[in-house]
Subunit: 341 residues, 3 copies
Amino acid sequence: MKQITLEKLAELTGSTFSGNKDVEISSVASIEKAGQGQVSFISNPKYKKLLKDSQASVVILDADLASEYKGNSLINNEPYLTFAKVLEVFYKDDDSRPAEIHPRAVIGNNVSIAEDAQIGPNVVISKGTIIAAGVKIGAGCFIGEDCSVGERTTLNPNVTLYKETRIGRDSIIHSGAVIGADGFGFALKKDKSWLKILQIGRVEIGNTVEVGANTTIDRAALGVTMICDDVKLDNQIQIGHNVHIDKHTVIAGGTMVGGSTSIGKRCQIGGAVAIAGHISIADDVVITGKTSVIKSISKLGVYSSGTIADENRKWRRNSARFRKLDEMAKTINKLKKHLDG
Amino acid sequence: MKQITLEKLAELTGSTFSGNKDVEISSVASIEKAGQGQVSFISNPKYKKLLKDSQASVVILDADLASEYKGNSLINNEPYLTFAKVLEVFYKDDDSRPAEIHPRAVIGNNVSIAEDAQIGPNVVISKGTIIAAGVKIGAGCFIGEDCSVGERTTLNPNVTLYKETRIGRDSIIHSGAVIGADGFGFALKKDKSWLKILQIGRVEIGNTVEVGANTTIDRAALGVTMICDDVKLDNQIQIGHNVHIDKHTVIAGGTMVGGSTSIGKRCQIGGAVAIAGHISIADDVVITGKTSVIKSISKLGVYSSGTIADENRKWRRNSARFRKLDEMAKTINKLKKHLDG
Amino acid sequence: MKQITLEKLAELTGSTFSGNKDVEISSVASIEKAGQGQVSFISNPKYKKLLKDSQASVVILDADLASEYKGNSLINNEPYLTFAKVLEVFYKDDDSRPAEIHPRAVIGNNVSIAEDAQIGPNVVISKGTIIAAGVKIGAGCFIGEDCSVGERTTLNPNVTLYKETRIGRDSIIHSGAVIGADGFGFALKKDKSWLKILQIGRVEIGNTVEVGANTTIDRAALGVTMICDDVKLDNQIQIGHNVHIDKHTVIAGGTMVGGSTSIGKRCQIGGAVAIAGHISIADDVVITGKTSVIKSISKLGVYSSGTIADENRKWRRNSARFRKLDEMAKTINKLKKHLDG
């Protein structure tokens, strides 16, 4: 267990401090639960009232809050970012397992695995794949032919990469994610049966990307489905074939993105959103949870759709009226004309 | 194959009966399909008309329906519950596999496995984990470090538990479920890139919980994501970090629950619902399918949102009008004022 | 690498051609990216403008577009279908792995595996299961007891089939799919706890069906959950117990289908749709993405619901008005009466 003084913590995180420079910290907890030897944080001023009862040895605060606080504080105008850094100080790289290829891993011909990679039990790596230095592949992962996994990227257990998938460095793929499965493409035959469009493209994932548990990213029909650097995808997301998601965009859980859609840089997309195929979303667009996007969005801004939970009795009446909304509007226009005229 | 008389079935399920006490039953089927030697049920009086053509040897009925029925009936005022009990009589515990740790399982150091547990092929159990009596772990499951799995709990094949996950007794986890993956937390840096907030909490699941196939439950950022006793989660559900779901609550498929949200006791939440993060839902709340919940619900009741499927041509007109609803409302107010004035 | 002349390609796909019959083609690319030796296609006339700059050696066109085009063309009035056939010519059956049961597969008693089946590493096949000729089972798949998998069907890696699941011939199941998990059924006890309804039915999947990555299909409570021939299911779909989906129906990603619902032939259902349980959808119905279907649809047509993404500021006002829509409608009716009267 690490023991770090307040003074040292300030140095490691580029912060200042107030209080006892020698107080020792060994772990992190929430402001309500933190006790002796623990550091906590307040980044949102609305939780300020929790400060006076906190038993934390140190609290991360911005300068304003710190000036009101009598206990030990680690002072930084980005307290949440500082909290993230403090977590890294205490908890990062606690994985002390030695590099190894587990004897129960199955490695195909012509596979290149860097010496310090960790390959877990029951991992299957198919021929032609390249595993870079510092990579960790969890138990039960399947990696198809001709894939590549970049430096220090982690595949948690039970991830599936179809053939030809490329992942950059320092990325994290969570369990149950399936990357590179066939896109959904069929041509209708005269007899109304479907002919599969073979999906011969692939998936490419950049650096410092995170892909959530049970998220699926389909291979392109032709070409590449592209997830650029620093994109963060939550759990249970579906990314269709030939989608392009640009740098720094984050998408919350359960969002569906239709094929061939392009999403810009630094977008923030909520959970349970549905984005149609073949459209494009501009840079810096924010889309709130549960929104349905069926047309391109070309201007930065915050976008929403849907209706808000209401008592079922009221909702039934209102949603019934929605089905007559066009008639209502026409009636209003007539009434207005009548009165104006 | 079990053969059980009507009299015995009444005794085993705390019911009475009418008809031939010696009629033998060996299996269960739906009211339309049941034939000789089979028991069926009607719990909803609207299916009463199916009774007269049924070929079932015995039908589970409430006293009212039984009084109208000339065939053999198993009589109980909770026919659906009785049906569930009858299913248990015929079908429970038909798993006769002996306890074993399959030779293809990979067991880490310092793992404790009760003698009568069943550990399937290709299971990986990491160091420090405790597996209690009567537990069944299906093929290909991965269990991280320092987990615990309580008495008689079943993990179906290909479940993933990240480190430190705790599951109580008599719970069932279905295939593809991922429990304990990182919550979705990132701090924005000045250069617009994201710094991962290490997720150092864990998931705790109570007793007699069911977790559906491909459902994901994220570990807490700090502290615990809590799924209390007798909670039932369907397939494809996402539970964010630090969520708390209280006893006896049921959630149907595809529902997304945002981080730090708290859901009360005995709630019934439909499928494809989206519940925002950082809110709370009171005890005994019912939320119908596809609803979007963005604010806390503090009063028991039935809640809904959304609009209802309509012909596309009509829907296009109505949904276009929705985008002008505020203007419409203002016009109405003006007209009203004009006329009132 | 195959080299095929334009003349030969016309013959193989039942098309005519114009231009140099001897031009050699070896691969397929999109109209913007195709170069020498590559064939591309235009099926939608709105992309016609891309034709004049294309470097493709051959373009698949209908007769109208071909008459305007000076380069080599493969001419067919169903260009998209012809494109699908051309992909098959170049890319189908490139899997040259020999038939084998991998030494790391675990095969139960009384399992029948056809001689030319491919069974990957870490596959578990439980007792009583039948694997037909030409079947491929990818690494890490789990197949429960008494299943059957028909001729030439492929299970990609990490698929889970619960016991008694039957799959027809020429079907494709993608990674992470879970077929045959328990349906979601519980009976409420007096103490407000839940008694599980044992799910004793099974799943049956027809011929030439495709099931997407991480899609879940629950076993029936009693009887059969049925996915008929030529149904195509995208990723992340949930199919409840006792659902019946008839031939040629396609469903896009993330759609939830409630238990006991029946969907007709040749339906086209968009992504992120929610379909309630216990309803029926007629043949040839089209449902657009994100729609909520809570009542049966008995007439063919296109159906939709939902509202469309708008600026958040406007949406907030409009969605607030939605909650008063019934009152608005009543006010309009009064005003109308007042003026008419």
